[in-house]
């Protein structure tokens, strides 16, 4: 309900397609991520529990108070050990029948709604059904992409509220299960393909976290290795 008001404040026109998610244990929802408002757009329809990065400032306060009521799991991108703790929390949540269905954004960060970056495999190794959700914003009215490197959320929200409207489409897609012989990473890529296809997004092989850190030297080294092998092979053939 609260979400509906919020959505109305930025003149949100959301069109939902597909069957409304039903509450069942052992299922997890994954969606592509463009902005913090993705969560609100989806929450408007169904009460989801979500896993989020804790933000500083008034957003953090909002997160703590309102979102606690739907059941939220917090993580901290910068903490190294955090991953194991969060993985355990996710697993516990999914097992519990009374909890709100869990919504995860496997890209791990906001992306500009033209592409999808690599999905992190965490959501796909929980041993449960994955229900993909695709969100596509219509850019003509406003660009919903929150570039957290450039704007604070407050500025972003202000920009949304003063624009014409936030128009988007949400598709609830067919639930997927891990296929026999499929790894979690392959499963993640398959679901990413389903979502990208539905929302008309391009798939790119980049790690979303590159937004925050430089690529490790191993990428460069792999290129050097490929080159060296090619050259040496030609040398052998002579």
């Amino acid at each position: 309900m609260i979400c509906s008001f919020f959505v109305a404040s930025w003149t949100g026109v959301v069109k939902y397609h597909g069957p409304r998610p039903s509450r069942r244990p052992k299922q997890v929802f994954v969606a592509n991520h463009t902005s913090m408002i993705d969560f609100i757009v989806l929450e408007q329809m169904t009460a989801f529990a979500v896993i989020m990065q804790k933000h500083p400032g008034w957003v953090g306060l909002l997160q703590s108070t309102i979102l606690e009521s739907v059941g939220c799991i917090w993580f901290n991108r910068t903490e190294a050990k955090d991953r194991e703790i969060v993985a355990r929390k996710l697993r516990d949540h999914v097992q519990g029948a009374d909890n709100n269905p869990l919504l995860i954004f496997p890209e791990g960060t906001c992306v500009n709604n033209h592409y999808t970056v690599m999905f992190k495999k965490g959501a796909f190794e929980l041993g449960c059904t994955v229900c993909p959700v695709a969100i596509k914003y219509n850019k003509i009215f406003v660009d919903a992409f929150w570039n957290s490197r450039k704007q604070s959320f407050t500025t972003h929200l202000l920009q949304l509220m003063t624009s014409w409207a936030v128009v988007c489409d949400v598709w609830y897609l067919e639930p997927q299960n891990l296929k026999p012989g499929e790894t979690a990473i392959e499963f993640a890529e398959r679901v990413r393909d389903i979502i990208a296809h539905r929302a008309g997004l391009k798939m790119v092989p980049w790690d979303g976290y590159l937004k925050y850190s430089r690529p490790s030297p191993k990428h460069r080294e792999r290129k050097q290795q490929n080159f060296a092998e090619l050259v040496l092979r030609r040398l052998e053939e002579k």
Binding site: R214, P215, R220, Q225, F227, A228, V231, K238
Partner: protein
């Protein structure tokens, strides 16, 4: 200058277009400007080395340090002129000239055996030994009719590379 929505006047676009010998269309120049402004976070009018390195593919490129020397501190007009070698409309001569400049790091108009070894070192890293690199380079030069003592000029590069397909074309996305 500053945010991505800052305007380029029609005059600016034409000036940049002239400076790159019409190798980019006006829409491509507008797209490039948007990207330039995104990378130039502090709106200085040029992109610093650090800002270039924030582009993942650039950081992963084994030749990034060499390329950086060529683009560091360029204003938008000169940056577009640099990029124009990658336009589909650019001639083979233009493209080979850029390759030559990558090899000729001391900019004396000549590329020595040592210069080529250094580039090969950047490209292969720790995956080839110095002996292997010397051997490969020696063979390549011999096949092309040169020796280890040769100093290659731009004309030599054109003679050797001029006939092959360089695959140095980039498409500038236009909204």
């Amino acid at each position: 200058m500053g945010s991505a929505s800052s305007m380029l006047t029609q005059y600016d676009i034409e000036e940049v277009q002239e400076h790159c010998n019409n190798l980019f269309s006006q829409q491509e120049i507008v797209s490039l400007y948007q990207r330039f402004c995104q990378l130039d976070r502090s709106a200085k009018g040029f992109i610093s080395a650090d800002e270039f390195m924030s582009v993942p593919e650039f950081a992963m490129n084994p030749l990034s340090q060499r390329l950086l020397k060529m683009v560091d501190g360029l204003n938008f007009k000169d940056f577009v002129a640099f990029l124009s070698a990658f336009s589909t409309k650019a001639s083979a001569y233009h493209k080979i000239e850029l390759i030559f400049k990558v090899y000729d790091s001391d900019r004396n108009g000549k590329v020595s055996f040592k210069d080529m070894l250094e580039v090969l070192n950047d490209l292969s890293g720790s995956f080839m030994s110095d002996e292997q690199r010397e051997e490969v380079l020696g063979q390549v030069l011999e096949e092309a009719g040169y020796s280890k003592d040769s100093y290659l000029t731009l004309d030599d590069f054109i003679k050797v590379l001029g006939q092959s397909d360089l695959k140095m074309d980039v498409e500038v996305p236009v909204d």
